[in-house]
Symmetry: D2
Subunit: 387 residues, 4 copies
């Protein structure tokens, strides 16, 4: 449905041609300093028309806090965030209404709901992600202030063009994940922090655009400074919630955490992350194939994962396909469309990561605080062999 | 937490050294013929000791239906399924209790819960999956009887050894997905339906075992005959729930649906699945890069996806690591362990897929049946342009 | 939290002094004819200033459908409904800010959230109920169209003044429950369908108002034409969900269904509702002490229940109490306040009843439709003894 | 469905004639000392055959902890608790299978599920409550150890016979609520702490038993030492969750908290609970008409409420009713049945109260601990007027 999370719960609403889009966030900690500017930054990064690489429609997308704040702080009550739609009328019939767009949601939405929204795919519209990004910004505000958590996503590939850092050099990748900032990511329009690769990616996207075609890509995301202990086995392991979150973003086809698919080719002796002293009286791991999660629970290392985005289904070239009525024909798409979604997907991936971590944090904090009032446990349960 | 699903809900319990493991399934349709034998088949496929490729411990794992059935049929009330543990006592201290196993859950469970189960990783034990497999068998029974749904998973790679079918020949892959059966899968101990690859995989696993090491792999799964319309946008898109389900299985590191990561390298014109007549008055797609899901909703084509499993963390060779107390040392693991989990993971992947589809089906059936009592909608909403 | 329901889910937001109040409704069946006028009727019945019995502030409360509808019909996607607040600024400090109002939510909200909204009780404001009433109107629209379900609530007592119909004459009560309409209820400003009692209630409310005091009362509600089979044992029995719903309305202190507290004084032989033929080949009950629910499941008879509302905490006379800082003093409340909430509570009770029934209907429809595809069960399970 | 709670979640299973009944508890704080004896006490208080006032079947009902504990302490993982059924076979056909029992769940279960369990009402059986009582005992163990919370329920009326303490003397009632213990409650078989009333109640129950009839009654419950701040507005107000919990117990017809229905007859000036200093630097209320809850949130005073139980539907005298097939006839019930459920309902009410408070505590602890890391809020939000 339209709600994500358990303790920090986001419910989104809105499609392309209705009055507004947005969300209600329930479970926000009270007393958090929050203004519309805190939220607008990520919405602006998400919106189309930022560069020649993305669709030129300027959606504006100004957010309004409807509730849950006073004097610039959260009250702990639900926060409703809204963004007006510019084009609010159900659109007129056009030739394209005859055809369900191939690999788009038009046909399945009609199968599921039995009605056809004028936008075709209803909530599969990219505008649905506005509510997510707005909610994610609120979660991020808390995570940064309370724990210094940093979430940075970036484009790691466009079509077949990848970053050099990902060519098997794990040390280089880990170094990048440890230091990368949003400012670096935004330094190029394609949002890839590898300047050389970024140039090639940009050329590829423009080539697709000129060919009235589209291309896919991947987004990599790192979450730094997450406390150990987050994630709820067995079904709500942290990676399971992250996978759920990422595959709920339109156009995604895959998710991998830590060593991911590549790690399946390693042997255990290579893959295992040995423990070493962390210099603060505890442990950390020498390597990070685990991607910051062991047994579904954060271990305090950087959490990192990669998300696959398919090439956008809506392309401007003619496509042979069939009408709703089953007649063969050629769909000639009109309008300008994103030839590649990954640059704009960056803040969406960050937002969903923030929602997952924030929710896990609230639940674990409830457990820890509740547990803190109990008497100490016997030595057998303390995890330290008595000598 | 330990519950999965909304309308068809499974709650599992149990760890390695407690009295039993199992689950409660809530929301099972009443009137379904169900016996313990229906459930045992998949549990037997899951259990260790099936071949020289897996751990030789014979866990037996006989399931008992505690409730929710009479006269061989479900009552619609919760079904509790239990399997006794053979080794029920918290184990004695050993040298390994000094060390959190690298890349295992020992250390994070202790961080999260503040207590250390004698099994170390608590619910991260593979025995936790018994409840899932048992519950999945119940879902499968319904899906097969009511819709002819077939769910077949198989090992698609072990370490660097993949199936020929996956070497870029999409037509061959699709043909395999359309016809493969569990009998074919079980024809080799490694559960890979490609005989030549299976031989090489088997050799690789034995080599790992001899080297006191372990290896990863991937499992591919197809779900056939799923009706169009399943999946709940936006956050519970069918692929999002599948990703969640799969990443909740121990040792998983990645998930991809349809064209997956490889599809990110295609252009839209190649990737889009054109519509064609299905011969029954409706539409289907000519290709299936979508993996049977568009916009988060099943489109009636085969749903297929691939899951990455890391090499098992517990290996029999010595590992340099640190103790809980932060002292450097060498962990010498003992006992026999699975050098590769993917053969046994096959029924677990099938079970989780069944749970996701069953849940989505109940929710969509509720919508459809509820909607059926309303008057017809205006022409503008019917998705067919009036001419 | 702020979400109610499982399959038909309402999430509300907003407090007294924020920009707007409203809700997101998820799970609305697609294809339902719906306009703002359908929703406005109940909002108008809820709003203050309708008569001299209620607070004279005219809040207007015009609802806007933000999403989820096109061409006057629902799309099956989330429907966001909003109502602008007239007074949107956090109010200025006044003497009353020194004191937590006795029996109001000011003090507990501060204890819970650690911040004090300028409205004091935050979401305990009566304005929070706007989202509920709006959502309930959508549910009612479906229930009426698809099943002819009628939901009518009315004031059954004000202070010590009750309706004659409730003086132990069960037959008269049942007759009333079977025929009463909203038009009859709205015939008097106090919304009591007993003309004589209504006069006395009105006088009592005015007396309270003149005495700068307040009074409590009860609202009785009947739901007619509910199909048998709704309600989800064991924890979501229909009466349990109704009780939850009603006690979530501000100022409520009690709930009873069917014979309620009075029925505890009967013997089983008097209380049991014998079965008789219903004239359509099935069964119904000769009496209805059960209130239309047996074992947590609707039996097809009228569902009826009664809700207790305490006297409003905010009164205009001086009260001896203590400041937040713990100093004894006298709180002199200002402004005009409702001396009795029950007339305005009528549409709120109806709305919450609609939400409960709608949610239960969707879940049961999912079960029934899912079950319908299975083979017939053995005779032993059919509930009819083979002869 | 069969799950109750959000952070502390209980899922129950089992009916009269299956192998066992019990529950899985998820979200138990780790490190809590817990043994089967801790749980057995309340199960023993619940079980039948305790005195001549209750049914003489001796169900034994020994609980087994299946999982989630080691070395006498909880691990934080799910705890499965089971109790074997003595009579595990679906029973034989008898004359009573022709008739749905009036006011029992036989008929509605058949309407809902379309199958008839041999026990008739399926999960409406009193044995279903075993899982609740067992889970409640675990919650109580924590609440007592961590917060000194005491939960005591008692029989406040049987048929028309009430306790003197409830005859309008609120001071006497409050005094009783402040001091009553389970030992006092169990001093008489009827579990009413008013010796004189208890005698009359006992006589009434025996009279019912001899007349092959049954009678209703009420149970009152107090929860002492609950911290302020529990309860989740708006839909999960503490009283709403309590009402839900209580009305989910079989045979309940009503719930009232604090002043309840009687309080609707008071004026605001009488009903309001003025604040006074609590002697520890904070506030408390001088009276407690609120029943320890304001605005849906606990205020630190005693929480008390009353639950109505109807007369048991199964009576041993003949009843005129109709068969499933719609033929008029006389149902002659057989066997021994409880003439009055309230004495045995006492531990069930306590258990459900414990589940509600425990769940609310975990959620509020999560909020408080999460909030504690934020910077202080501005003076305007601190709830204290700056002077």
């Amino acid at each position: 449905m339209s709600t994500f999370g358990t303790a920090f719960r986001v419910t989104t609403y809105g499609e392309s041609h209705c009055k507004s889009v947005g969300c209600i966030i329930d479970g926000v900690p009270p007393g958090l300093a929050l203004s519309e500017a805190d939220i607008q930054t990520q919405l602006t990064r998400r919106r189309p028309g930022q560069s020649k690489l993305t669709t030129p429609r300027d959606e504006k997308d100004r957010v309004t806090i409807q509730s849950g704040c006073e004097f610039g702080h959260t009250l702990g009550t639900p926060i409703c965030l809204t963004v007006q739609n510019q084009d609010q009328r159900p659109h007129d019939y056009s030739e394209t209404d005859l055809y369900p767009r191939p690999s788009h949601a038009d046909w399945t939405y009609l199968q599921k709901y039995g009605v056809k929204a004028s936008s075709g795919g209803g909530r599969s519209s990219a505008r649905e992600t506005i509510g997510r990004v707005a909610a994610g910004a609120v979660a991020e505000k808390y995570l940064a202030e309370a724990h210094g958590i940093e979430i940075v996503a970036f484009v790691s590939s466009v079509g077949a063009i990848g970053m050099d850092a990902f060519d098997g050099d794990d040390a280089a990748l880990q170094a990048l994940l440890g230091r990368i900032t949003r400012a670096e990511v935004d330094a190029t329009p394609v949002r890839c922090p590898d300047a050389a690769a970024s140039e090639r990616m940009q050329a590829e996207i423009l080539a697709c655009s000129e060919a009235k075609n589209s291309t896919g890509g991947t987004v990599t995301c790192v979450v730094r400074n997450v406390p150990a202990g987050l994630g709820e086995p067995c079904f709500d392991k942290l990676e399971a919630r992250l996978a759920h979150a990422m595959l709920s973003i339109p156009a995604t086809k895959g998710f991998e955490v830590g060593s991911g698919f590549r790690g399946t080719q390693l042997r255990g002796s290579e893959h295992n992350d040995a423990f070493v002293r962390d210099g603060r009286g505890g442990l950390r791991t020498a390597s990070n194939h685990s991607g910051g999660i062991q047994g579904g629970i954060s271990n305090g290392e950087h959490i990192y994962f990669r998300v696959a985005f398919k090439p956008p289904a809506t392309i401007s070239q003619d496509q042979r396909t069939a009408t709703y009525a089953g007649e063969d024909g050629t769909l000639a798409a009109r309008g300008r469309h994103d030839p590649c979604v990954v640059p704009r997907a960056v803040p969406i991936v960050e937002a969903m990561a923030a929602l997952v971590v924030m929710d896990a944090l609230l639940v674990q904090n409830g457990r820890s605080a509740t547990r803190a009032l109990l008497k100490p446990v016997p030595a057998e349960l303390k995890g330290i062999k008595p000598i």
